[in-house]
Amino acid sequence: MIDIREVTKVFGAGSDAFRALDRVSVTIRQNEFFTLLGPSGCGKTTLLRMIAGFEGPTEGTILLDGDDLAGKPPYERPVNTVFQSYALFPHMSVAENVGFGLRMLGRPKDEIAATVREMLALVRMSELAERQTAQISGGQQQRVALARALAPRPKVLLLDEPLSALDFKLRKEMQLELKRLQNETGITFVFVTHDQEEALTMSDRIAVMNAGRIRQIGVPREIYDHPADRFVADFIGDTNFLSAELTARTGDTATLRLPSGRTVEARAQGDGTPGKVTLAVRPEHAELAPPEEGALTGTLTEVVYSGTDTHYHVALDQEAGLFVLRRQNRPDAGPAHQRGDRVGIRLGAVAGQVLRD
């Protein structure tokens, strides 16, 4: 278990000082696939490097299974990293790379050899054990980097955007592979990425970060369906933001009045006082309808075909901005719409998530 308490990191000093992390607190559980998700510069890599020991916190503490990690150099932490650049040692063979950590720990030779064999089998690289690292492909290097970091059986495996250099198909494959490895080894994985889709598919829990702060922590479904604020809603998936007025609330359901005058229901947590709010609606949660039936009306400005889906861009009558809808392309899909058509937008029984500004 990693317990990160009120951690702040400031780089530089005086007027150049940059606050990379601002009072970040999070608890990562045993055997969890935990993802730090956010745009570049949000502090996710800094947090990872602090767990690894490459950076020290300016303030706050990091505990690993109750032990304070402060002042411990990276080589005294039972934590290993899969680097974005892989950082394989070019003067060693694949097997020597994988065995390096155990060798530094002073394990006996036959134990190292056995573990190296086991790890290479785990990442399906047994045949290439004697190759030089320059002689294998990017995807294979990735597997070697994984095996190397797993070989010393760390308590925590840190992964710094390890899939970003791979092409689409290989990335998909490695996502499943990583998930399998985590299940088989039972090691806690802390995964850093800026790819929201990657985060949603792989993680047990996600922490969404922006500008040095954690904006929301939750399981993928929670993050997607109940974004805590506008940043999270915008960063994870596509979202339409509508201005609305909250008129009543019972439990988690709020009644909203849209500028069109229609009333819809949406999910809301926290503050339930009536007033101006933002309604976040996912593109796949709304559908096109005849103008008189929609909660909103507008003019179709663009129809974008993308294989599995078609995206409809609607210029709203009631407020500025586009509303984007997504419809799966099926043979029994409804009537075709064309650019310039007058359309209505029908929202679901639960229209979306209410966000406070």
């Binding site: 150099p73 080589y75 003067h91 320059a134």
Partner: protein, 295 residues
Amino acid sequence: MDATTRSRALLLAPALFILTVAASGPLLIVFVYSFLTPGDYGGVVWDFSTQAWFNVIAERDFFTEELGWADAHLAVFWRSIKLSLLTALLSFLVGFPTAYFIATRPRRSRDMWMLLIMIPFWTNLLIRTFAIMELIRNEGTINTVLIAMGLVTAPVQMLYTEFSLLVGMTYVYLPLMILPIYASMERFDFRLVEAGYDLYASRWQVLRRIIFPLVKPGVIAGSILVFVPCLGAYVTPRVLGGGKQIMLGNLIELQFGQLRNWPLGAALSLTLLVIVMVALLIYVRAAGGEEARHG
């Protein structure tokens, strides 16, 4: 021979000409002289003789005609090789951390550091050698300070010792060690250091198992670049050795000068060349082996 090959051969011609005339020519003369008889007032007499080669390592006693080792020559050989190796070692011990320091500076300040390393190198060799002499002689800066501080009562004899030669040659050839190591280190991916720390390697282990193996070609090149000119050093042992601690270069000069034994001088020169060749061969073997392993 087509047009491209011909124009390439033409481009090669000046270099070939210079190499043949300026290197092979004199070398051939030295080779021939080493098999001739010395003239009374220097120069050579055109009588074939292997005496000079014999005298490189052996000598016949003037009175008893007894055969023995040429102890004086062997002592100079030994001193030259020993001091050259020590100079290479000392240059490595000083130059490696220096190159590491420079290679880990921000890119913009690296050139400034390299310039500071190179400036003394571009200064006249004699001036630099006399500067060292001024530092280490009995009335020099170091002894004056030591005496003033009360650390010693009498000046420490440093000048005209092997120590003074070692210090002088290290000072002179240090840039030749730093440059190739720096060139290797600049290409070194320092992210590997973090990977090493992450995998439980201590600072020393990271240095020994990751940094050193990857900059080794630079270290070997630097060692050769320092070792070879040290073997034939002339000015430094002349000034700092004061005729007591002579090296191969001085011994050769003696044969052509005061001792008027040109064939022996020629034979000694060729012996020096052989030693250099052997050193280069070891280098090529070591560097070649490296490359074969890393592809």
